[in-house]
Symmetry: C2
Subunit: 353 residues, 2 copies
DNA sequence: GAATTTACGAAAAACAATTACAGAAGAACT
DNA sequence: AGTTCTTCTGTAATTGTTTTTCGTAAATTC
């Protein structure tokens, strides 16, 4: 079925195309009489404005590109909901690009995003080469990076305070009295991975615990690497008595390994994870974790990109959002008094149980 | 920064616009000599083809609209990954529309999708009014419905076999010997909700168990309704000894309630859920569930829509994909021999523990 | 050497909207 | 009555491609 055009509407209504456009966009006063003629012509032809033609003419697509590493990760999917709901209010649509953190997919998508003339770009993924990011920057399209930012970019960034977050998670384990605290990090080439490692190290240092390279495992932020890195940790001579795991997927993988091999949490190994989930409190045992404000992160990113689109001259903005330590039982806190370890803080030596 | 146009590339390279277009799209033979001139002009001007202009001219957007009720639901986010990976292979992008199953958001998005002239539409959400669906159908844009299809549509549909799935889940509980088996359904206005209820009823009927209206609760497919409906069930006089829950979010909500109120699974209440999740085997107790082939569902949907775009004349296709019963422990199957109930099937009366 | 094929240019016609500019008609003012 | 001001509406240019037509010149084939 051929779609009706504005021109056809105009001829049927007996007016000019300019007039039709003006009634549609309310850009100029049009008499009620003419308006009605136009509306009934629109009705009769079942006319739907062609937004791609409009985009070409007015040079804006009303589309925001969203470059994300894994939409199936609950953290990201909540972020996306935040973005979506905020953008929907301003009638922007989102073009979803799932990259698997692959440089090739990233570059490929960036290319189509430039071609499709998106009005802005929200990035929460990076394979970190950046040729296409640079050419994106040259085009002047506003970008905001979310939680991960390649060093060479000077765009807006909105982050959770990763260092502080992992510091508090590690600190919590230290206060429990654990001394051989391991960490499963994300790729240290990614800022998130690096920062969470930094927070861990800083906590150990502040509490006078010497760190051991053997207790630092670099994972890949996915379930599988959580599983294998956990396995490595528990099969080596220098076993940890607690572990801090840098994201939800790896925590899941680690849990799978620990359950499978009958290692009891927290008795044989205490764990604190990163990212809260809907299921974190019904697993066995419920996971103590660093919660990121995922939804708010998305909302903020959306607002920032919209602000940038309206006014491109604003100074670079770097926002840090705070994390929250959610205490459950995988760290060793007990059921009756889950906050006991917080209340007797530094005085404890052997934890709060 | 003003972007370079094809025309500018042409003049810089000293060739015609037709030629530049031909080298870019490889639509006609062009000598290497000329090609090189064009390429270096492109390089020099940092030219990026304007796809919206192209879209206008060739009347295709290379965008598939994706109407989905909740991207944060792990089932859907896996489906989306399947769709994304398949579409990426053919250089189609996806425009993400999260609807919350709200009629208003659905209509609004449908309108922008029509306006943006998407080449196809994958729908896994429905508030079920359908005025805009109908006008979408009139435009001739290919649509495939995924797991939920409004009755009045005659588009392609790809479904999991919901009736069979919930039948086997219910049957499993029956074989355990439970007689007061409740169900928490989704909205029965949605086909998924209705069909899963049908499967449940059919199983009860086949095994000669009289059904009770009190044991049928209609939820909303979200965590909260799982919680409240579970609560209703356990607080009424006619308590169930087992429950079948029609999706993952409601199962999660139900679990939360049961843990909170100290009801032991499966001793006091056995549960079988719908939708498998990464975390289903690490919760306490691990959830027995009906697994849908989420990723494959997405891949299939993507392939179908691409086939439709290429050839619009194909007959309507309705595909059913099979579910799988994943036996863990929430149903009462024990750890040592998780499949015992399957092996002594109908002979058991009081379950397999 | 004639006929055909190939490579390319120039120019213009789509594609479907927006918008600057101009013109006409009527109202309001001198 | 003539002038100015609104208020409405039409004309035509513009956005960046692709594609068609027509034409020319060189290369290839017979």
């Amino acid at each position: 079925m051929k779609r009706a055009t504005l021109k056809e509407v105009a001829t049927l209504a007996g007016v000019s195309t300019a007039t039709v456009s003006n009634v549609l966009n309310e850009t100029k006063n049009v008499s009620d009489e003419v308006k009605n003629k136009v509306f009934s012509a629109i009705q009769e032809l079942n006319y739907q404005p062609n937004i791609v033609a409009k985009s070409l003419r007015v040079q804006e697509s009303r589309i925001i590109g969203l470059l994300i590493s894994d939409i199936a990760n609950p953290f990201f999917s909540i972020v996306v909901r935040g973005i979506e709901e905020e953008l929907a209010k301003s009638d922007y649509s989102i073009l979803l690009c799932n990259t698997d953190s692959s440089v090739e997919k990233e570059d490929k998508y960036l290319k189509v995003l430039i071609g499709k003339r998106v009005d802005g770009l929200i990035v929460s993924s990076t394979g970190n080469t950046g040729d296409y990011f640079r050419s994106m920057e040259k085009t002047g399209v506003p970008m905001v990076f979310l939680n991960r930012c390649p060093d060479f970019m000077v765009s807006d960034v909105i982050m959770t305070n990763n260092i502080k977050g992992s510091y508090s998670g590690t600190e919590h384990l230290i206060r429990h009295g654990f001394e051989k605290i391991a960490i499963i990090t994300g790729p240290i080439s990614i800022s998130t991975g690096k920062d969470r490692l930094t927070g861990y190290k800083r906590a150990l240092e502040d509490y006078g615990i010497t760190e051991s390279d053997e207790l630092v495992k670099e994972g890949n932020f996915d379930i599988e690497s959580g599983y294998t890195k956990m396995k490595e940790l528990m099969e080596q001579d220098n076993k940890p008595d607690a572990v801090f795991i840098s994201n939800n997927s790896m925590t899941l993988g680690a849990y799978k390994y620990l359950k499978e091999s009958g290692i009891s949490i927290p008795d044989q190994l205490a764990v604190v994870g990163y990212d809260d989930s809907d299921w974190a409190d019904i697993v066995d045992p419920p996971i103590t974790t660093i919660k990121q404000p995922a939804y708010e992160l998305g909302v903020h990113a959306a607002r920032l990109i919209l602000a940038r689109i309206i006014n491109k001259q604003v100074k670079r903005e770097i926002t840090y959002m705070d994390t929250e330590l959610i205490i459950r039982h995988s760290c060793g806190c007990n059921k009756e008094n889950p906050y006991s370890c917080e209340s007797n803080k530094l005085e404890t030596t052997s934890g709060c149980i």
